[in-house]
């Protein structure tokens, strides 16, 4: 319990600093944000009006308090381009990214687990070598390049999948999957490599322990020993890695969505960056960071639940 309380308490300063960083983003822009948004030809009165609308003519502290007050009510402001609520824009785009992320993780698990288990069963043999090779290469290949190569192979050379024309999954699951499968695999390969590397080394460590030797001595087959005895004990670091990966995955999906022209959260971020829609950029950055913070919290709590040693010692620093 003390662990959970401490973990929740440390969230408060993190969220506070997070909000300050996102707030101050707009002040990083060299020059007057209002002038930059409206362009060099804007009249001084238009610039002044926009400054007033954005609250830029108030003291910095007041600006932050007001912005934070809105934020706590779930109000991320209004898009400077579409004049729609930023929260609504993000809400429209997020389901695409969530679907992509779930699919990516499924692909990653489907690759990493069988290979990781085979590597542990046939330690030092060909399967181990294949696993090591796959994870080393998988880590080096940027997902966006795999994406481009997939586009080249499966939509340009062989018309197996669609490269555009995204529809939501509830409208047409077949067409949805046809546009989503390539991006899922392209991003999933890298995530699989990270998981596989972790799973392999974690399994190798567990395999040397006494209880595994006992299981072998009882006469259990290699496969049963690995899956039934070693794997549950090797999962803890893997769960943590999967949690930490969410941050990297979200970043990776930004560029995957761009390559496959998927109307997701990442595409919204990139579009807002280019159209200088600073309020949307702020909102998107805040949402991305919040997702990571919440996922990490869940992982830490699950971690404490799975491994009682962590709960009892009051947690890691």
């Amino acid at each position: 319990m003390a662990y959970i309380v401490k973990r929740l308490l440390t969230m408060i300063p993190v969220l506070l600093f997070l909000s300050m960083m996102v707030f101050s983003l707009i002040h990083l822009i060299p020059g007057d944000p209002a002038q930059i948004i409206l362009g060099q030809d804007a009249t001084p009165s238009a610039v002044a009006a926009l400054r007033a609308q954005m609250g830029l003519n108030q003291p910095l502290f007041m600006q932050y308090v007001q912005w934070m007050g809105k934020l706590l009510h779930g109000n991320f402001g209004t898009s400077l381009i579409d004049h729609e609520a930023v929260m609504k824009l993000i809400g429209q785009r997020l389901p695409v990214t969530v679907e992509l992320a779930i699919g990516t993780l499924i692909v990653a698990l489907l690759i990493a687990f069988p290979l990781g288990i085979l590597a542990a069963v046939y330690r030092g043999k060909w399967a181990d070598f294949v696993a090591l090779f796959t994870s080393t290469i998988g880590l080096a290949v940027p997902p966006f390049w795999i994406g481009i190569i997939f586009l080249l192979l499966f939509t340009v050379k062989v018309h197996l999948f669609q490269s555009s024309g995204y529809v939501p999954i509830w409208q047409n699951p077949g067409q949805n999957l046809s546009t989503m499968i390539l991006p899922m695999v392209a991003t999933g390969i890298r995530e699989a490599a990270v998981l596989l590397r972790m799973l392999r080394s974690s399994l190798m460590e567990v395999v040397d322990q006494d209880f595994v030797r006992t299981a072998r001595a009882k006469g259990l087959r290699g496969f049963v020993v690995i899956v039934g005895h070693a794997l549950p004990n090797a999962l803890i670091p893997v769960v943590t890695t999967a949690g930490i990966q969410i941050a990297g995955l979200l970043g990776g999906l930004v560029i995957t969505e761009q390559i496959f022209s998927l109307p997701g959260f990442g595409q919204l971020l990139v579009q807002s960056v280019f159209s200088r829609d600073y309020t949307t950029v702020q909102g998107a950055a805040m949402v991305a960071a919040l997702i990571v913070v919440v996922v990490n919290l869940i992982v830490d709590l699950v971690y404490g639940f799975v491994d009682p040693r962590i709960r009892l010692t009051g947690g890691r620093s």
Binding site: I26, L152, A285
Partner: protein, 296 residues
């Protein structure tokens, strides 16, 4: 009682010599270190001498040879402006290294002092302020942080460097802080303190040199992620600006000609894969070489 000088010398040096010899043998057997080192060496060599090695300039347009496949004259083919892809890939290595090294310097210069100070003087400031700021920076997905910073600062190689470098800061702070906390209680630090060394001297002269192994490994790995981050930002149009050749801008350009000129997409991608692979393998090799726990 006087102890003969040569005995003192022998006692003091024998373990060191033995360690050095063992490290030397391990160095020789360490395949990862060799393979990674050779790949990185080639990439760095190409990056430094690109203008001398390349047959033509990277931005020379040749409108009689547009979108031509690989040939004896243009090994990697040409793009829609007739520019030689071999020359552009080589200059791309230089761009990539410049940004990755610049970002690494930003990360180290900011991260090391913060890590040293927070690890040394633990307490409220460390626990509730500085490390929580680090947590907050780390909550931003690396690429999103770089993207947003590059957007605010404006596109370009220098700003890409700063943006990627800020993303590195939490990694180096955590690495150095963890090392400082581990070394803090060791006898040599206690000895240095009892001899009256200042905190500053203990941090920089004693603890930091003993924390070099994980830092070196992290820095090597950071080079790999820096290469990918630079390519990603440039692909999105927020990194190096055209016509300067970068592997990211080359891939972005290639996507428009996938049907006619697939080689445009393959060569820069392979260049990224090879360099990232080199730095990753080198990092593993360094870790195995210098960290005794990695003997297995």
């Amino acid at each position: 009682m006087a102890v003969p000088k040569d005995v003192v010398k022998e006692v003091a040096t024998t373990p060191v010599v033995a360690t050095r010899k063992r490290r030397g043998r391990k160095l020789f057997r360490n395949k990862q270190l060799w393979i990674g080192g050779i790949i990185v060496g080639v990439v760095v060599f190409v990056a430094i001498f690109a203008p001398l090695l390349s047959p033509v300039g990277p931005n020379v347009n040749d409108y009689t040879n547009i979108l031509k496949g690989p040939s004896a004259h243009h090994w990697f083919g040409t793009d829609q402006l007739g520019r030689d892809q071999l020359a552009r890939t080589m200059i791309g290595a230089r761009t990539s290294m410049e940004v990755a090294v610049g970002a690494l310097v930003v990360g180290l210069v900011v991260g090391i002092p913060i890590g040293l100070i927070t690890g040394f003087y633990r307490g409220f400031l460390d626990d509730w302020i500085i490390m929580r700021i680090i947590d907050a920076i780390q909550a931003f997905p690396f690429l999103i942080l770089a993207l947003v910073l590059a957007a605010m600062l404006g596109p370009g190689a220098r700003n890409a460097m700063i943006a990627i470098g800020i993303g590195y800061v939490p990694i180096f702070v955590r690495t150095v802080r963890g090392q400082v906390m581990a070394e803090f209680e060791k006898e040599y630090v206690v000895a240095a303190r009892s001899l009256g060394s200042t905190d500053w001297r203990i941090m920089w002269k004693h603890i930091l040199p003993n924390s070099m192994t994980p830092l070196l490994v992290q820095a090597t790995m950071a080079m790999a992620s820096g290469i990918v981050a630079e390519a990603s930002l440039s692909y999105l149009g927020l990194g190096v600006q055209p016509p300067t050749a970068s592997w990211g801008t080359m891939l972005q350009n290639a996507q428009g000609y996938l049907g006619q000129a697939p080689w445009l997409a393959i060569v820069p991608g392979l260049a990224i894969v090879v360099s990232v692979l080199g730095f990753n393998v080198l990092g593993d090799g360094i870790q195995r070489w210098l960290d005794p726990r990695q003997e297995r």
